[in-house]
Symmetry: C4
Subunit: 203 residues, 4 copies
């Protein structure tokens, strides 16, 4: 059955790689006019959106990778839950483009809500996939129960943390985006490290 | 010869992964104006088309994957029939875009016919590929004849079920799309499960 | 050294899969107006160009695959010659789009020349790659010299056959495209079969 | 731990393959008018930009490949540094498109600066990745220290060489692009060969 997850991983890698590369297509080339320099500078929202989304998809890939070092078996439900997660990954370039085009315009609040809201839903999909895999007994026989529990713990924070981003939209949109970017870094850290820090902090 | 199908699977995985990710490019970002929220809502046909097509390609991938757990040998005819199927997969983003742009306009009937018609043809290609592989003796030596027969049976329904979608266009277009989506779920289920249910139903 | 060609093949598979899938992006969705049906029909040049290019890239992939069942070793020159071939593969969507947009317009001759000319150059790249690999001793130790010689023979026809397509542009453009499509089928056939037929024909 | 870098390589291969293939999307098809031939010729900046960027990404892939024949272990920092490098790879189609559209217009200086500047930053990312991998002990146990040192040496030239391209923009833009293209060839050569030539030259 290991072969089963091998092909899931290959297909998922492909989707992650394409979604992360398509982001650049959303940055439009300024038309050929006299003042290219200032036109390039005025596109800063596109660059900001590109970098945050790149970090998000890249770090989702790292996490997907981590989960599948534990998940060794597969079934139809896992295939469908993984497709649901990939639906989220494929969706990312769209809110990114909306944010890029509206960040300097009047409707930036709606654009930011669509952006953080998408990440909130993807964080839920990640939890559902992982919870299903652990409870349906799809982890490898030599899987480390403690390590798996730490992942569950780190991921459980995801949806609420993105909810905070959503709330911050009414306070300050740039800050909400900065927090979103910081969350990507948080999820890049291995669960062992995060949980240890949390204990140090509580203890 | 197993290596032969390994590279077919890798190439096909790539095509599936790209086609499913390109779907998002068909959703256009509303121009920067004052009322972004309602403009995003008005794009519902794009979202509907995106989700149905995503489900269709994703579940075609699951099925392709299942077929190739049985198919172990390859020859030139199989390569060409597989290319024909991939031609169908690559084509999907186009009727999806047509549907998305015309679902709320006057010509939704033609758009829906093109959409269901494309799926009808792809369902035929799937049957041709599978029938060829089984009759040309390309299955693995340890292939389960009963399991293969169940797949043949489930797939044989495909074309007629998509014909029903085509017929439903003259009755009610949203219902035809709902049935199309339900068919994706039907083909996501393993053949063993479907055939068992069918027997329970008949018996 | 086998691992070396494994990664070349994986990278090349990716490029082939993406180039073949991008072709669909060149077919533009007709704007939302009253007569969608006839607008879709008027796009026939796009469909023709899509199918021919799909066949060409798909069958190039089959051939690339065949070559690398013989090529087992790699070096910097092979990497660069392979990149040159992939440059040709990546280029294909562009002459396809030019052909699609100009086949029903006044400048179809130039569009057809660009199209066949691109294939002519790619056929040369294919020969250069294969000739280099055979003469630089990069084939596997158990490579069949007779089989390799047959491939060399079939490929040697490539450039001249596409030159014929170029010549046919001045006679009849649809016929030149039909011949181009027939050539794809010719190169899909295994070299053994082609050379045997040639002998039967001569003998 | 080898499996760890296997999946990094597969994901990176995907990103390289997509970025290199997306380049063609930046070449726009001339509208259907009477003089297609001269319109195609007038697009020479797009062809120049396409070929240089293709060479750059292709040869970055060759180099990434070379590095990972030495790197056998992975950790979170390496994953993030590799993502940073891929960010650079994904970015390339954008300065390429800017260059293509502005090379024959008035603002070619800014476009050329953006282009060379992007390559300068990517060259730094390459050095950071490699220096980290060597100093954090991620090379394979049987890694050749001398070969690794030669790579370090060749790469150390990268940023300064692209700085020269930046400087050349004020002298002559076509020459700066020619030098950029020549650098791709320089980095295609194996480090052993480059360092040997350097010694011959000095000695």
């Amino acid at each position: 059955m290991e072969k089963e997850t091998a092909r899931i991983e290959a297909f998922s890698d492909g989707v992650f790689a394409i979604a992360i590369t398509l982001l650049i297509l959303e940055i439009k080339v300024p038309p050929a006019t006299v003042d290219l320099g200032s036109q390039l500078l005025r596109q800063w929202p596109s660059y900001v959106a590109f970098v945050i989304s790149f970090a998000f998809i890249g770090i989702m890939w790292i996490n997907h990778h981590r989960l599948f070092t534990h998940i060794h078996r597969s079934n139809t439900v896992l295939l469908i839950l993984n497709l649901l997660l990939l639906l989220g990954v494929c969706w990312v370039p769209y809110p990114t483009a909306v944010l890029a085009q509206h960040l300097s315009a009047g409707d930036q609040k709606i654009a930011a809500l669509l952006y953080h809201g998408s990440y909130f839903v993807i964080a839920i999909f990640f939890n559902v996939l992982w919870q299903y895999a652990t409870h349906a007994g799809l982890l490898g026989h030599n899987a480390n129960a403690a390590a798996a529990a730490k992942i569950s713990r780190q991921y459980a924070f995801g949806p609420s943390l993105y909810l905070i981003c959503i709330g911050l939209v009414w306070v300050n949109i740039p800050v909400s985006l900065l927090v979103n970017f910081a969350l990507a870094i948080f999820f890049a850290l291995p669960a062992e490290y995060v949980i240890k820090k949390e204990r140090d902090f509580i203890g």
